[in-house]
């Protein structure tokens, strides 16, 4: 008999009514900022549009915390438990302005919507960005039609924050295993977990070619960690939430830490729809939301942080003012970058059961490249990843190859696209371009009648060249790993990387950037960005750790502008 299980919509300290800071969104950036603020005693209200997939997340006793996330492929991947529904929350896309109002309506790099944000779905690989990644404006120099810029922080500035975050959330990795990684002031908090068989095969192939495979740094427990159990390699990792809290995602780490301070109130199913400002537009006076009941409400605080991830952050700025909140530079919504992914598929004659394990356990940084070296162009980290589970596999046979009937069934039994397959993915640097941007679609609306975000985006030669250069090398690795077939998959017409950056670029020059080095909007005295919206460039590494690190830095600077390090709570 079906029973109703209702998770609370409001969690944390429900008695709070006055807030120092209001944070919109509850993902990696937002949670990291909230963690530092609440530890310093600031009263914080967090508003999250998505559902709360946890029971008792604000209980200090781990045995009371449970979740709706499960090894359920149908719910997570095909019924969109936390992914936006294209029927009522689409985005639109066009390659450039001359393409007309839009050429496509539907899914454009949409991110999961839920308490804890997109990382719930991630398999949470957590390499740091490398030292060069923070100064590509200088290192690459001017490139036609691209807009590379230095970050307002160097690797050295952020290094102690990286160390703090790795310890606070829990990261596994092998010290010294990636020769291209930056210097570390701390060791990995946990050793690597169980290596996937196919990951080892590909690593062996890569080694034979002189590359440097490493156990992928990952925010997954390989030991019991802070009350959470060690991962048990359940095989439903990337695109699923973790049923046992072994993934060190925001909800079960920094967000929960913030909830346990008693200084945070989190309201889920509560969607920000407008930033209210004073008449001169220099101060935010409130955030208007649509609550779980569909009614409008306004919340206020002294300071406000946008943590909805780049596309929704920019959208809210434009929903709030035609010119865009904080847009004297004209840069709100611009310099939108995705990682440009190149995927190579390898199919072995034998079964390699990539679907068993943590999705990715190995990778290489050899293709990240050296700025300005044409023999070593700037691509990105390559992860050795597992394919879909069974529903996805069967749909691939039908949708990609046209198999139906006996051959569909034979394929499911033999499983070339699951039990025999691995996909290696390069997350290449995506050259920032002023013309790649988010604005509002002139006609397409969401369920509340609000304009949806429109993405105008086309690739730069920079990343296309990297793909052409490294794609064949990726195939070589798979061949050396003993695959029967290996090939580069066609590029996605519209990015589905789920790695999204920019739109509120941080920088020191208020004419070319939206936010300053503290994360504060240049134009307003009490509005901040956090996380990946601030990134001036995409780097070539998975972003979760750096989003959390930047979010931590923003929170620490809000608490202690002159010495942010001193604001870090105990890890």
């Amino acid at each position: 008999m079906a029973t109703t299980t209702t998770n609370p919509k409001i969690i944390g300290n429900q008695s709070l009514t006055q807030f120092d800071v209001l944070i919109v969104g509850s993902g990696a950036g937002a949670s990291a900022t909230a963690n530092v603020l609440t530890a310093a005693g600031k009263k914080v209200l967090m508003l999250e549009a998505g559902v709360n997939g946890y029971r008792n997340l604000d209980n200090s006793d781990w045995s009371k915390v449970s979740t709706n996330f499960s090894n359920d492929e149908l719910k997570l991947l095909f019924r969109n438990y936390i992914m936006p529904h294209q029927e009522i929350e689409p985005r639109t896309y066009r390659q450039n302005e001359s393409a007309g109002d839009r050429t496509y309506t539907g899914e454009v790099n949409s991110m999961p919507k839920t308490v804890g944000g997109a990382a719930v779905h991630a398999d949470v690989k957590t390499p740091r960005f490398a030292p060069n990644d923070f100064k590509l404006g200088t290192l690459l120099g001017p490139i036609a039609d691209a807009n590379f810029a230095d970050w307002p922080w160097t690797y050295d500035d952020l290094e102690p924050f990286y160390s703090y975050v790795e310890k606070a959330i829990g990261v596994q990795g092998l010290d010294g295993s990636d020769p291209f990684a930056g210097p570390r002031s701390s060791t990995y908090p946990m050793p690597p977990g169980v290596p996937m068989y196919a990951g080892q095969l590909i690593s062996d192939g890569a080694k034979k070619l002189g590359y440097h495979p490493f156990p992928y740094p990952t925010a997954v427990t390989s030991r019991p960690y802070k009350g959470r159990p060690a991962c048990n390699d359940c095989g439903f990792c990337g695109q699923y939430g973790c049923p046992i809290h072994a993934k060190c995602t925001p909800a079960v780490t920094l967000l929960r830490d913030a909830l346990l301070t008693g200084n945070l109130q989190l309201q889920s199913e509560t969607r920000a729809v407008k930033i209210l400002t004073n008449a001169s537009g220099t101060s935010v006076t409130g955030i208007q939301v649509i609550g779980p009941d569909g009614k409008l409400q306004t919340f206020t605080a002294d300071r406000y942080v946008l943590g909805m991830s780049p596309i929704e952050d920019a959208r809210l700025c434009f929903l709030s003012s035609t010119a865009g909140i904080g847009n004297s530079s004209g840069m709100v919504g611009r310099n939108l970058t995705f990682h440009f992914q190149t995927l190579a598929a390898g199919i072995w004659n034998q079964r390699v059961h990539g679907h068993r394990g943590r999705t990715v356990t190995h990778g290489i940084s050899d293709f990240r490249g050296t700025p300005g070296d044409p023999n070593h162009p700037m691509g990105g980290v390559v992860e050795f990843g597992a394919p879909d589970n069974v529903i996805g596999e069967a749909l691939d046979y039908f949708n990609q190859i046209g198999l139906i009937g006996d051959r569909l069934k034979a394929s499911m039994r033999q499983s070339p696209l699951r039990d025999h397959l691995m996909v290696i993915t390069m997350h290449a640097e995506d050259a920032p371009q002023v013309t790649n941007r988010v604005d509002l679609d002139p006609a397409v609306r969401d369920l509340d009648g609000l304009p949806v975000p429109r993405i105008t985006y086309s690739n730069h030669k920079f990343e296309l060249d990297a793909r052409a250069f490294y794609g064949p090398k990726m195939v070589e690795i798979l061949q050396m790993a003993g695959t029967q077939w290996a090939f580069v998959a066609p590029a996605d017409p519209i990015s589905i990387s789920r790695h999204v950056f920019g739109t509120l670029r941080a920088g020191t020059d208020s004419t070319t950037s939206v936010c300053d080095a503290t994360g504060k909007f240049h134009d307003l005295d009490n509005l901040y960005g956090t996380g990946s919206s601030l990134f001036p460039t995409s780097s070539g590494y998975n972003p979760y750790l750096t989003i959390t690190t930047v979010g931590t830095h923003v929170g620490a600077t809000m608490v202690s502008p002159d010495s942010p390090l001193s604001a870090l709570p105990a890890a």
């Binding site: 991962c231 048990n232 390699v352 394990g357 749909l395």
Partner: protein
């Protein structure tokens, strides 16, 4: 490095038996309506059963119909006649796998209650989306948000109902007598219906059994797939060893034991050889 000891304690055979037992939903003949609210008529059920077998045929193992695809579809089409709507099964665990023991790196004999049989309440947005998916613009007050710009959306219920009716009109003698090729030719005229039917059939064959399909976990057995593995998982961290133990029957770090249950056959090899050679270098 993990320790490879035969200790998790659930063998491949036991696992598949457990899977089948845990998923003990009674199998109804495809033409009979399951108990509870119904959307499909008897004729529609019979037609969808033929189509489910067209997508995944019956042979020495069940096809789409025997795996429960029609019940799966019925449950989804009537999802909103239940409170909460039967869209999202709860978690974190089914009752198909035991908890790990507190020590020793082995399985315990304790199983969780099956939380997948419970369904989650929908929030405002999920409810609006799923009503639109199932009932279409005509079936929800005010229609879809972009009907004026993009045209009205047709709901799954109407796509199925109209598709079956169109097939009956085109093949008055009944589709059961058509060869697979002839049926495919008919379906190619009904692109939306065909796409939806294949999608729902595949979901119904390989979903968690609590959604009404994949009866007895037999869809997963066809695919040599374990299904959900929590709370045991595939490895167990042993605090005494300070290391992992792997299930030797479902290892993570090494090749599977024993022979491949169904190696790639000549047709699959030919297919992938041609796919690989057609990809741009």
């Amino acid at each position: 490095m993990p320790t490879k000891l035969p200790v998790i304690g659930v063998s491949r055979r036991e696992f598949l038996e457990l899977t089948a037992l845990g998923a003990g939903v009674a199998v109804l003949p495809a033409g009979c309506a399951s108990s509870g609210p119904t959307f499909l008529t008897g004729t529609e059920r019979s037609t969808l059963a033929v189509l489910a077998d067209h997508v995944l045929p019956q042979d020495k193992q069940p096809g789409g119909a025997a795996l429960g695809v029609v019940d799966y579809i019925e449950r989804l089409m009537t999802a909103f006649e239940f409170t909460p709507p039967r869209i999202f099964a709860d978690g974190p665990f089914s009752n198909r796998n035991p908890y790990p023991a507190a020590s020793g790196g082995v399985a315990s004999t304790q199983y969780p209650a099956d939380a997948f049989v419970n369904f989650l309440p929908l929030d405002r947005v999920q409810e609006a989306a799923w009503r639109l998916k199932l009932y279409g613009s005509v079936g929800v007050p005010g229609g879809g948000p972009n009907d004026a710009v993009l045209g009205p959306q047709k709901g799954m219920r109407d796509i199925l109902r109209d598709g079956v009716a169109a097939l009956h009109a085109a093949v008055p003698q009944g589709i059961g007598k058509l060869s697979s090729n002839d049926l495919e030719l008919q379906l190619l005229h009904l692109a939306d219906f065909r796409a939806l039917m294949v999608q729902l059939t595949i979901e119904g064959c390989f979903c968690a059994p609590e959604y009404g399909g994949n009866k007895g976990g037999e869809g997963w057995q066809i695919a040599h797939f374990q299904g959900d593995t929590q709370p045991l998982g595939n490895t167990i961290y042993d605090p005494v060893l300070s290391d992992y133990r792997e299930n030797p029957n479902f290892p993570v770090s090494t090749i599977d034991p024993g022979p491949d249950p169904e190696p790639l056959d000549d047709q699959t090899i030919a297919l992938f050889t041609s796919i690989a050679s057609s990809q741009a270098p």
